[in-house]
Amino acid sequence: MNSMLKSCAICTVFAFLTLFFSGCTHLHSVSTTSVPVQRDSKVSVERSRMIVLALNFNNDYVNEMAEDLARQCSQGRVQGILTKHEKVTYFPLLLHQVRVSAQGYCVRPRG
């Protein structure tokens, strides 16, 4: 009887761990542009939105990402930009976060 209870407890803990730690983050897309030779200065930007009950009425929060990267590299060009779009589920159907991040290299003119 005791061993059965122990097995049940282990199963319950395993089920909880599976529920909380598996399949929470979904990678939707990744894209990159040509990577430059000069890669000593990294710039990055991240935008995200928490979405409750799948109610989201626009995606404008990603519109200013290019400007943000440009501000971090005002005297040059940002190249080798890796853009990543992912979704993090906190509570299925109730709450999730959509996150878009971009990182690249600031290439400044030499001389």
Partner: protein, 151 residues
Amino acid sequence: MRKKWIELGMVLMGLVLAGGCSHLHHHQLGDIDSGVVLQGSRFELLVSQVGVNIQEAGDIAKGVARSQQARDQIQAIQGIIALFQMGPRTGNDIYSDTFADHLTDSILERCPTGRISGLSVTRETAKYPIVSGEIVKIVGYCMNEKGIGVL
């Protein structure tokens, strides 16, 4: 009678919940020339196509169908359609796969000098009951030959 009202209420709630929601599928940034992005003019291009969710349409039809036989027939039709729509996709089905092909020409129309930078491409769905707007949006920055925003 009461069951009908509950069904109708559920359909209405579904419509409200599904109404006007926006879903982001993909966002991509191109290389950035900071001078153009910070001093140029921002432009935005948007093309879209109407998408149809046949599964949702079938579910609503089933909800209002009076007989079990009709519901079964709708279910069978949904199954057949689903067989032809397998595979990865973003958003609902559309009836033209060329609606975004002319975007590069449109970008040059908006910025004839060709000094364009900071292009970002967004693929999103504006979701309504049964139908949706399958959208491709491009945001970019343009400069004229004198180094001033042209738009």
